[in-house]
Amino acid sequence: MKYLFQNLLKTIPVLLLITLIVFLLVRVTGDPVSLMLPETATEEERESLREALGFNEPLPVQYFTYLGDLVRGDFGDSFRYNTDAMALVLERLPATFELAFASMIVAILISVPLGILSAVKRNSFFDLFITGGAVLGKAMPSFWLGIMLILFLAVNVQIFPVSGRDGFQHLILPALTLGTGIAAEMTRLIRSSMLEILGQDFIRTARSKGLKEGIVVNKHAFRNALIPVVTIMALQTSTLIGGTLITETVFAWPGLGQLLVQAVNLRDMSVVQAATFLIAIFVIMSNLIADLMYRMLDPRIKYD
């Protein structure tokens, strides 16, 4: 508990730094006033809008105003939609979570059995096939895989819908697209972690006790092999929260990534800031959870 609390405290400076960087980045890329007013607007009209939005204040003043609002939970309004920026972002969260969760499930369902099997049958034809497949899976661009899946499973054979988000059916192709890439990485990781563990003395001990090979592999070995894998899994999850733009675009999936890129293009500052802030929190949380799971799985690590 104390450990968790300390780590939460440590995240505050990280979050502050992120808000500062994002704050500066959205401002050096140009102010949104020109996009907010019609082309016919006069320079005076622009100037008065700048004044009204506070863009004429010195940057430090603007930053601290922003921070003050942030602490009160106010991320400002979207220039584009004239509504609360955080509300816009939160609206996208369920779609993002849904896709991230489903992709992770796909990745786990593929990588755990394949990783274990190719380690157990190392250097066999099966192992070569899986290892080769994993290299391909990692090299394959996600937009290409997404388009191929659409082509084959939504257009040629109309099993799944092409795009959008409307129930479980819609989730499958984008989750497969994202999950496959992650599975490729995780399969390789699980394989090499399992290979290392299977050579350990305690595996010989487990066999000498007369345990079934399935128990030796799936319990005694996998439980150890999982320790390094969990960290990578958590990192992958955090990239799923913010970085699924390409897949979201291919499948017209209304997630956070899509909103963020739109907002960047429109210089919708408040939305950019709110979205990045939330993504940062999720990344930090995933790391914390990874760390906690790591400690839970490995009794050799002490809490302090």
Binding site: F202, R204, S208, K209, L211, D298, P299
Partner: protein, 320 residues
């Protein structure tokens, strides 16, 4: 005459490596009787562990028995089904290993690892297995056994872990306990404690013990009979008294000469020059000839057979 417990005849084991197959156990023959303690001695690399792993049916994935016979009680181990072999392992034949630091699974508690064997072989409930586990820990002299059940291996010292291994191996009352260098990795004082423990266990139970060691001090402490192995072969076999009184094979004599006079500073002090040959490149004739003080031209040509000189005493040498 005691009843025969197990029998190994002309056992050969090979490993698949990048340079093809290498044979590291080359026709090992010996047997054990019920209640007997047999020591297998020989320098590191002579094939002692591989022989015992073959007997347990747990050779590494690249290893295989490619010739010979192995039987345990009335069972032919070479034709035994996987399932029946599993039923034997940890139950009728169990094993403790050299490295107590790495032989226990780091992510499971001592209790879990102890209970597991009992649940598999004796179909005990978790509670029953727990009670039996605590008894076993007490038997091997672990203080506060109940608490120790909840400990993880890294929380115990090397000596305590080896005691846990012994408790685990004995929990199903095996007919045969194979102890592969159980004290080698431990401090001298702990070594003595573990040996005392094993001697007590030997006296109290009728479990037969196969103790593998390169330490003749350990042999003298525990064994009834001794097998000396060199380069994947048995080079001498003798009752303990015979072996110390009248060692025949030059290799055995070399081992004897290197025993320190004071027993409690036992250490590897082999005075035999040279090293165990590489299994991929075995000498012709007698495998010991490059290191043997008695070797002559004949020894480089003739591969001696294991011959009995009298009841229970055999040697593999043409000169003695």
């Amino acid at each position: 005459m005691a009843e025969k417990l197990m029998d190994i005849k002309d056992l050969k084991v090979r490993f698949k490596t990048e340079d093809g197959f290498i044979s590291t156990v080359n026709g090992v023959t010996f047997n054990m009787n019920e209640g007997e303690t047999l020591a297998i001695v020989g320098e590191s690399g002579s094939g002692k562990s591989v022989t015992s792993l073959a007997l347990m049916g747990i050779l590494p994935p690249n290893g295989e028995v490619y010739e010979g016979e192995m039987s345990f009680r009335d069972k032919n181990l070479r034709t035994l089904s996987k399932k029946d072999y599993r039923a034997l392992r940890g139950n009728e034949i169990s094993m403790i290993f050299q490295e107590p630091m790495t032989a226990l699974n780091p992510v499971f508690t001592v209790g879990y690892q102890l209970r597991e064997t009992l649940i598999v072989h004796f179909k005990m409930t978790k509670q029953q297995a727990n009670i039996r586990g605590i008894q076993m820990l007490e038997l091997v002299g672990i203080p506060d056994a109940e608490k120790a059940m909840g400990r993880f291996p890294h929380q115990l010292s090397g000596g305590m872990r080896q005691r846990v291994m012994i408790a685990m191996a004995l929990s199903c009352n095996p007919r045969l306990l194979i102890a592969d260098e159980p004290t080698t990795a431990l401090d001298v004082t702990i070594q003595a404690q573990i040996l005392t423990l094993m001697r007590n266990l030997k006296e109290k139970s009728n479990t037969s013990i196969m103790i593998i060691t390169h330490d003749l001090g350990v042999v003298a402490e525990l064994a009834d009979r001794v097998i000396v192995m060199y380069a994947g072969e048995v080079v001498e076999e003798a009752p303990i008294y015979e072996l110390f009184e009248n060692p025949l094979h030059p290799y055995t004599k070399g081992l004897m000469a290197s025993i320190p006079k004071v027993h409690d500073v036992v250490d590897d002090l082999y005075s035999i020059e040279g090293t165990v040959p590489n299994p991929a490149n075995m000498p012709s004739g007698c495998k010991f000839h490059p290191r043997c003080p008695l070797a002559d031209i004949e020894c480089t040509k003739i591969h001696p057979a294991l011959e009995y000189v009298n009841e229970g005493h055999a040697k593999r040498c043409i000169k003695v």
